[in-house]
Amino acid sequence: MERSSNILKRLDWITILIYLFLVIFGLINIYAAVYNEQYSSIFDGSQRYGKQLLWIAIAFVLIIIVLIIDGRVYEVLAYPIYLGTILLLIAVLLFGKEVNGARSWFEFGSIRFQPAEFTKLATALAIARLMSVHDYKINRINDLAKVGLLIIIPVSLIILQNDTGSALVYAAFLVVLYREGLSPWYLILIMLFGVLFILSLVTDLFNVFIALPILALIIFHLIYQNIKLTLIGLGIFIFACLLLVLNHYFLHFKGEYVLAVGIIFSLIVLAYPAYVKRIKHYGMISFILIGAMAFTFSVEYFFNHVLEIHQRTRINVVLGLESDPLGVEYNVRQSKIAIGSGEFTGKGFLQGTQTKFQFVPEQDTDFIFCTVGEEYGFIGTFIVLGLFAALILRIIAIAERQRSKMNRIYGYGVASILFFHVAVNVGMTMGLAPVIGIPLPFFSYGGSSLWAFTLLLFILLKLDTTRMDKF
């Protein structure tokens, strides 16, 4: 077969051009971020830009290897690769080196290596492999549990490494599951719990407990349009509130406990008419209501009694409940200043004062986007974000044109992971997302993340070249 010439023709060059632009522009920005007059050569291996250049070279070698290897091996090797990276995660927990409080690095001499970066790739492959099986039904609880397990294992291990940011990335796979038919109710449920989580920290438990049954009643009413039942429910709820007033004057239990008792009581009372009227989802709504209350309560308890003060502070700062001008808030503020001061056209290459004088910490890694904002202005940030959007949409297009289900699912995995990284990383430099310290794909300094993203992308491109091959 004249495969080698074919593969070049079949490769998606738009994606590759965007990739090349991002990698090279990233290198230029790393150069600016750590620029040092003494070592101004970009080839200087003692500086981070020199090293990044080496990482890029290695990434190119990896690309060639990926393109040479037969695309079919991934179907066969998906699980072994997954298993291998999980073992690496365990190994790093035991033998890894702690950097910035996270035990997520292997160290070989002067080279550090972060296995968690590759687990994303392996998980994407494994999920694709699992879900492409012929009789896989995502909304079947067994099958959902299987894919859940694939995700939860690396997440737990990474949380154990104390690298919550990297663990959160796995939430991106929800998009993949959604594309493959996951009921939107699950997503709504997850969102509900997310909102509850924040609410339980932002306001009093009591307020949440008052709001939840009202919300439940409204949903109940919207679904069944049964005035009588709704009114009964409301009556019982008001009765529970009266209990609350009595309690306030005579018993002095905590208000939220009385409310909880009142709500459970009213659910039990309502259960009979609901059963008589054969109302289908009554159990479900009750269950979610109680679950939500229990969840809120436990979050509150966990937050106030289990977490250390500094952990609490950090969460509060992210939620904007507490001010910490010299900690996380400082980073974000300086980062916003850097981006904002770039104005329309930016200050020019190496002219960024925020960048040059190290006002923004971690500027070559997590906060690399500030350099773009400061030195190239709105034009620069617009182009970079636009290219990322184009890249992600292109990947979705590639995924959709796959005949193989596995390839498509994998493609969505790639798009989702990239999107999550871009959204959170860029969002945190502007103060729109919490600072959880994940790299900007292809841009941030670091070999592991560059290689992992390169492999992630080029495996998809390789699979794409084989989409026309006959099975």
Partner: protein, 604 residues
């Protein structure tokens, strides 16, 4: 391969695009609409470091240096650059107690760990050199130079004035000043502040996150250079000033000497005085308090700030006005019966009797003669009323610079006392003016107050036969005659030149054969007039006014010595000695000098 969920592709893509669109919108606001971030970035990185110009030097009229700047050194610490060091050695070099050093380091750390704090102020050059040699042993310590005012000789303190940190008021009034700047507070330092201070410059540096200077902004394109303050040449003759201060050492009072042909002040002595070096640098506040509490008031500049009745020296002015108004002639002879008597009013006179002519009235300082002259001035029939005659007389006095500010270049100049007609109108009420109520002014007592500077100016005006230049202390700025125009304008009296000769004749006789023969010098024709200001609180003040030589006068002088009695006792000798010193640069009468040096008055 189609799939029932493939429409979800649109939803997912839409969601991705929406998020990125929101981000771009946010960036648009952050980078283009909101300009505050640009400012924040500049605040982060730019440090405007003010370049202080050195203050102008002050010279005497012969170019002798009076005030200059001396470099002193502050020791500064940046705590986070500090490493363990030999405290004992350090303390020995800079002469500081170890405990004090530890406390100061603590304070500095509390202030900031990366910003410099001063821990030792005003190190002298010797200790500075020692420290500089071994500074490498003391990491984190730096020295920075500053200048302080230094006075070559402890002279002319209140005339030179002093500088100090600006207060809030000055900062509000003039945006040039910033907290910590120095400004002239009194004397020449104040009145010539704008000339002496020069112009501050600014250097714009860029600093990194640790406040370390990383270089100048755009190679200093936006920097401005500090412009050094201009040097002042004063009109002071330092030798004469020094001699005057030494003569006045035992007394309270003042001596002012003026060059009549220019109005330049040759000496401006106030006593007691202080060493101007006391009011510089670190000890300024402490010493200032001590001087302020001193009951002899050394900070008080009597030459321009003290008022005395002019006493008999005032008779010269009266004589000139009377001649001009035509109420007497140089030939007028008036009776003196040991005093001036009108009804029950009696003003005693000195021991000369009978008829007194004009010259003898001056040389003998006849009270009766001048009382009658003054009555003639007031009762002049040219004027419709006594009040108007008074107003005219007052106008003549104002021409002499009496009763008003001379508008010199000295700060805190006093006006003196000279009642207006209106004021007397009020005092007399509806009743007629009673000239006898005013007659004590004829002999320089009563409602009159004059500063030594004003009296010296009167002397200069007489010496010039009818005009004067506004007295001033600065002769040239940066060696150019660029002082204010007003100092070059002849101030003319409204008195004809011919009337001066008889008065000056009388003044020469004062010294040759009158009340002040003690001031006589054979080789120099000194013209003078004694005065004794009655002092209700104690011994009378001794006053002498003089100029010399009679023709083409080079110096006009006024001397006030508090509580020294008659004008001839102390004031006249001092004036005479100073004239001799100035004109001949020698002293021919060491016995007289000795007498002054040894006279000690009792001041309570």
């Amino acid at each position: 391969m189609e799939n029932i969920y493939s429409n979800r592709r649109l939803f997912i893509s839409g969601f991705f695009i929406l998020v990125i669109f929101i981000y771009i919108l946010r960036l648009f606001f952050l980078q283009i609409i909101d300009s505050s971030y640009k400012l924040s970035a500049e605040n982060n990185v730019f440090r405007h470091i003010v370049q202080y110009p050195s203050r102008g030097l002050i010279f005497d009229r012969h170019g002798k240096l009076m005030v200059y700047n001396q470099s002193v050194f502050d020791v500064v610490i940046v705590p986070n650059e500090m490493k363990a060091f030999d405290t004992l050695l350090f303390c020995k070099i800079v002469d500081i107690d170890k405990l004090e050093l530890i406390n100061k380091l603590k304070e500095a750390k509390k202030f900031s760990t990366y910003k410099p704090s001063i821990i030792i102020q005003l190190l002298d050059f010797k200790r500075y050199s020692l420290l500089q040699e071994s500074l490498y042993k003391f990491q984190g310590f730096f020295t920075q130079a500053r200048t302080i005012r230094t006075y070559d000789k402890p002279l002319a303190a209140s005339l030179l004035g002093y500088i100090g940190e600006v207060d809030d008021k000055a900062i509000k009034e003039n945006p040039y000043y910033r907290i910590g700047d120095y400004i002239g507070i009194s004397g020449i330092e104040k009145s010539y502040e704008e000339v002496l201070r020069g112009k501050k410059g600014v250097k714009i540096f860029m600093v990194d996150v640790h406040n370390r200077i990383k270089g100048s902004f755009k190679e200093g394109k936006f920097d401005s250079v500090a412009i050094v303050g201009s040097n002042l040449t004063t009109s002071i003759d330092l030798k004469l000033q020094e001699y005057g201060e030494s003569l006045m050492k035992n007394f309270k009072g003042s001596v002012v000497a003026i060059e009549p042909s220019t109005g330049e002040i040759l000496a401006l002595v106030t006593s007691p005085t202080y060493d101007p070096n006391l009011l510089v640098g670190q000890q300024r506040a402490k010493n200032y308090r001590i001087l302020q509490l001193d009951k002899n008031k050394p900070l008080f500049d009597r030459a321009i700030g003290a008022m005395y009745p002019p006493g008999s020296t005032f008779k010269l002015v009266d004589a000139l006005i009377a001649l001009q108004e035509g109420v007497i002639t140089p030939q007028t002879v008036l009776p003196c019966n040991g005093g001036f008597r009108v009804g029950s009013f009696f003003q005693a006179c000195h021991g000369h009797g009978g008829a007194v002519d004009f010259t003898r009235a001056i040389s003998g300082s006849c009270n009766a003669y001048f009382s009658q002259v003054f009555m003639r001035i007031l009762n002049d029939s040219k004027y419709d009323s006594i009040g108007l005659a008074y107003a005219n007389w007052r106008k003549h006095l104002m021409d002499f610079g009496i009763g008003r500010k001379l508008n010199t270049d000295l700060s805190h100049e006093l006006k003196g006392i000279l009642y207006t007609k209106d004021r007397w109108d009020k005092i007399f009420g509806n009743s007629r003016w009673r000239p006898l109520r005013l007659v004590s002014m004829a002999i320089g007592q009563g409602e009159l107050g004059i500063t030594p500077l004003q009296l010296a100016n009167v002397s200069a005006a007489i010496a010039n036969r009818g005009y004067y230049y506004i007295p001033h202390i600065v002769k040239a700025i940066n060696q150019k005659d660029s002082i204010d125009k007003r100092f070059y304008i002849k101030q003319k009296l409204n008195i004809n030149q011919e009337y001066f000769e008889p008065v000056i004749e009388g003044m020469e006789m004062v010294v040759k054969a009158g009340t002040a023969t003690v001031a006589f010098l054979p080789q120099i024709a000194i013209c003078g007039k004694t005065g004794t200001a009655e002092n209700p609180h104690g011994e009378d003040h001794s006053i002498f006014i003089a100029f010399a030589p009679r023709d083409n006068p080079k110096i006009a002088i006024a001397v006030f010595v508090e509580n020294a009695g008659f004008g001839s006792t102390v004031a006249a000798p001092i004036a005479s000695l100073m004239i001799e010193k100035y004109l001949t640069d020698s002293i021919s009468r060491p016995y007289l000098e000795e007498r002054i040096f040894n006279t000690k008055l009792k001041y309570e």
